[in-house]
């Protein structure tokens, strides 16, 4: 038990780095996902082509290879990243490419009549997306985004390989310090599990709120009027 107290502070410090990288990469990934997804459904051929290249490139290669490339190869042509920045950029771009497909799919899933209605109402393309399409599409995006967020959290362990002191890295440090290795790693796995579980719960909450905001969720109570309106 006292051994656990000895190594816990270092692991918690690592977990904090893991959380920061997850948050940073999630934010960047979200921006990339919407940029990529909107470009993929846009009318311009060029932006569609850019979106396809981005998505296929980042989904087609390994996240670790992308991270190494940013960290080791780019400095040689003069672009240098801090390790943490390299981690956030690589993971964000990687998860963003998967997110782009989610955004594209969710937008495509909105019934065509909704587009036609916005055209009939003479809405600008921006207004159409902002007020009609996206509010409905976002509800469909949230469940797959939740899965991607868990993938991202697990993916942050890769940054330990470029010597960022995240949870995984600190577990390795403790391993070389000849502590009870099995206990250390069980605690580390449990910490990842708790973080993943928290994210899952948070996303569930968000899903329910988003569904309710466009009138898809369950009502908190069943108004009598609805029952009366039903044919007897």
């Amino acid at each position: 038990m006292s051994a656990i107290l000895d190594f816990l502070p270092l692991l918690l410090k690592g977990a904090w780095v893991t959380i920061q990288i997850t948050a940073g990469a999630a934010l960047l990934g979200l921006v990339c996902a919407f940029a990529g997804g909107l470009a993929a459904v846009s009318g311009s051929r060029i932006s569609r082509a850019v979106a396809i290249v981005y998505v296929e490139f980042f989904r087609g290669t390994s996240a670790l290879v992308q991270l190494f490339w940013l960290f080791f190869a780019l400095p040689l042509i003069g672009i240098r990243f801090e390790p943490i920045a390299a981690g956030i950029v690589a993971l964000g771009l990687n998860i963003g490419s998967y997110g782009s497909e989610v955004v594209r799919g969710a937008i495509k899933a909105i019934p065509k009549s909704q587009y036609e209605a916005t055209v009939a109402l003479n809405m600008t393309p921006y207004r159409r997306m902002r007020s009609v399409i996206l509010p409905q599409a976002v509800v469909g995006m949230l469940p797959p985004f939740g899965n991607l967020l868990i993938e991202l959290l697990k993916g942050t362990s890769l940054v330990s390989i470029i010597s960022i002191a995240d949870l995984t890295f600190n577990a390795q440090v403790l391993r070389s310090a000849a502590l009870p290795t099995l206990t250390v790693f069980l605690v580390v796995l449990a910490m990842y599990f708790v973080m993943a579980y928290t994210l899952t719960l948070g996303m569930k909450l968000l899903e329910r709120r988003a569904a309710r905001s466009i009138g898809l969720g369950k009502l908190p109570y069943q108004p009598d009027a609805v029952k009366l309106a039903e044919p007897v």
């Binding site: 290669t61 390994s62 670790l64 290879v65 190494f68 362990s157 890769l158 330990s160 391993r175 990842y192």
Partner: protein, 216 residues
Amino acid sequence: MIWDWDYTRDILPDLLRGLVVTVQATLVGSVVALLLGLVFALLRRSSLRAVRIVTGAFVEFIRSTPLLVQLYVLFFVLPTVGITLSGFQAGVIGLGVHYATYTSEVYRAGIEGVPRGQWEAATALNLPASRVWRSVILPQAIPRVLPALGNYVIAMFKETPLLSAITVLEMLAIAKGLGSQTFRYLEPLTLVGLLFLLVSLPASLTVRRLERRFGH
């Protein structure tokens, strides 16, 4: 510093040797994932509550924690309790078990997609349980989930560079080794990226074709 073609030509054979290891790890890992995933899916439907709960908890736990940490456990921690695995063995077991938790969900969806009438007909014909699964349910469940399974095989292929962290000399490990000898990382790492694309793009096109063939 610009691209050096002579160096590229020199290192390509080494990287291709790494690609072979990468593909081997993917194939062995896939066999583990595809078989074990089916086992998990069947255990989660067991008539024993305890079996269902334990399998469910194990699957959730493995799926929510990083593969890299699991590989470290297999490679560095298991020897402390007397089980020593080579890097490749630990790698394919780790990959296989991790992705089995994903494929088990795919199988589950496939099994649940088989119409109820098929179960009822099998019961009416008094088929033994093993025969029901082998001849009625799985032959209908598996073809329609083949594309989803294929996607996970591709995902595993892209995860194999993690094996470099447990001393397996796959493509990325070789590229890193070459880079540290010459301080030229640009060529080896870019080539590794291209080689990954070269395999995974045709593979995902194949899966997309499968999807059209078995599409609903």
